[in-house]
């Protein structure tokens, strides 16, 4: 660089070399407070922090302005979540103002706080999709998992209310030791209570709580063996529902299909190996722009600088170490679910070895290996 060469502003070249990033998919995390106390929650903060959280949460006006800026920047799909978003006393005001910007909007809720006022707002401004969580098939299970038996009935009643809306309804659950016995009963409850067309999506893996959340996940999540066994059993149950009497377990094949070179995705430049920070973003409860709700270590100040500046400058904040050699050389890397966020959640390091994920993956790998060695082809 000569004395005549104009100085390049820090980061400008890095930004110029980035592929085009458009914030198509947004998440607004209205709060990290929740009225339930689920043992495995990734995001809920302790009640003792409520005073501080309430003082620092984005206001309704700030959320509506953020939505206006996000729409202007190109956001189409918007998820409203928490914590529990209906816990906010100004939820209806936020919802109406955000809705009018014009998004394909999804609401995530535990359905326990569906008041007449909330329903009036949602009837006028119905979500395109509603994701409800259901953690047990009885009050007793809700007591064990969520800390309050009475919330079971409120959940069911709330979902019945939400079902009157024209929104697409989806069910989600997380299975831990305390509701493991209810895993099938939850599916049966949903179909019996709300309709046979519904399926319950189960979180494949429960990582440790993130971003200051308080749950002691390690004490309640399934052991890796049970985790894999449950995922497999649920998959088999789904197959049985589809094929009916044709199901034959003796001839069941477990096969991992490697993507051929011809079918392989074109390589692309990303920040984390996914769409986080490239097409996806989160605005946290206190106005920070994150790539993903799981990973808070990289952030820009959307509340202070505005959405556009925060989005544009986000890549400059991302500083990643190389992936550790153990992961790079692992024979199971093609079936492993780990990412920078899960490594950080599990170990506190972006290049850490997530022991829980490794064990889960090794069990799955062993299943594939047993199939190959036993019969010369992939049979269970």
């Amino acid at each position: 660089m000569t004395s005549e060469t104009p100085a390049i502003p820090p980061g400008a070249q890095r930004l110029a070399e980035m592929p085009r990033r458009i914030p198509v998919n947004g998440t607004f995390e209205l709060t990290v407070r929740c009225n339930l106390h689920c043992k495995m929650c990734l995001f809920r903060h302790a009640d003792s922090e409520n005073a501080r959280l309430l003082a620092e949460e984005m206001t309704a006006d700030e959320w509506i302005e953020m939505a206006r800026q996000a729409a202007r920047a190109g956001t189409v799909n918007l998820l409203i979540t928490g914590g529990e978003p209906l816990l906010r006393p100004d939820f209806c005001e936020i919802w109406e103002g955000v809705y009018q910007q014009g998004f394909l909007i999804t609401l995530y809720t535990n359905a326990t706080l569906v008041t007449p006022k909330v329903m009036e707002t949602l009837r006028r401004y119905p979500p395109h999709k509603i994701g409800v969580t259901i953690y047990g098939a009885s009050p007793e299970t809700y007591r064990k998992v969520c800390g309050d038996a009475a919330t079971f009935a409120r959940t069911i009643a709330g979902i019945h209310q939400l079902q009157t809306l024209p929104s697409v309804l989806e069910f989600r659950t997380t299975i831990i030791k305390d509701n493991y016995a209810d895993a099938d009963a939850i599916d049966e409850l949903v179909q019996r209570e709300f309709g046979k067309e519904f399926r319950v999506t189960q979180a494949r893996m429960v990582t440790k709580a993130v971003r200051g959340a308080c749950a002691d996940v390690e004490s309640c999540r399934l052991d890796p063996e049970d985790n894999v066994r449950l995922a497999f059993r649920r998959g088999i149950n789904l197959i049985k529902q589809y094929v009916g009497d044709r199901y034959d377990e003796r001839n069941l094949l477990l096969e991992h299909v490697n993507v051929s070179e011809d079918d392989a995705f074109q390589p692309r430049l990303t920040l984390f190996g996914c769409d986080a920070g490239m097409r996806d973003y989160v605005i946290s409860w206190d106005g920070q722009l994150l790539g993903c709700q799981m990973l808070g270590v990289f952030h820009t100040d959307a509340r202070g600088q505005g959405f556009h500046t925060a989005w544009e400058r986000f890549p400059l904040e991302v500083k990643l170490p190389p992936v550790n050699n153990t992961c790079l050389s692992c024979k199971s890397r093609n079936i492993c679910n780990c990412c920078y966020a899960s490594r950080y959640a599990e170990t506190g390091f972006l290049d850490g070895l997530p022991d829980y994920v490794c064990k889960d993956t090794s069990i799955l790998q062993a299943m594939y290996d047993r199939g190959e060695s036993k019969h010369g082809k992939n049979e269970l």
Binding site: V24, G74, T75, V76, G102, F103, L104, Y125
Partner: protein
């Protein structure tokens, strides 16, 4: 706009013609339904279905540039002739082509209840 012609436009509203006026009646007036919000996303124009309309259609519609122009023009009540004039002005096409394109566009909007009579 490649949808086939369908002769199902709404009948013209009664229009008062002052005696001695030589102009033809202006025809029906249309306006974009508030059940859709027009958004610009990257290089695309889309209409997001909102409100109770998502019971009929839960999703979004992508507009090509001429459809986007017409939709923006329909933010205020407009006749077919006024819409055709907007197309002519923007694209320099022949009046007959503009009228035919607008006719086809309006038939689609009417069929899917995307315009209202203000």
């Amino acid at each position: 706009m490649s949808h086939p012609f369908k002769n199902n436009c709404p009948p013209p509203k009664d229009v008062f013609c002052p005696s001695g006026a030589s102009e033809a009646p202006p025809g029906p007036v249309y306006q974009a339904s508030s059940h859709y919000i027009h958004r610009k996303v990257a290089d695309m124009d889309v209409l997001i279905s909102v409100g109770g309309n998502i019971a009929n259609f839960n999703g979004y519609i992508e507009l090509n540039p001429s459809a986007s122009l017409l939709w923006e023009t329909l933010a205020q009540p407009k006749t077919a002739a006024e819409l055709a004039a907007a197309l002519q002005s923007a694209y320099g096409i022949a009046p007959e082509q503009a009228r035919a394109d607008v006719q086809e566009f309006l038939e689609l909007l009417v069929q899917h209840e995307m315009v209202v009579a203000p």
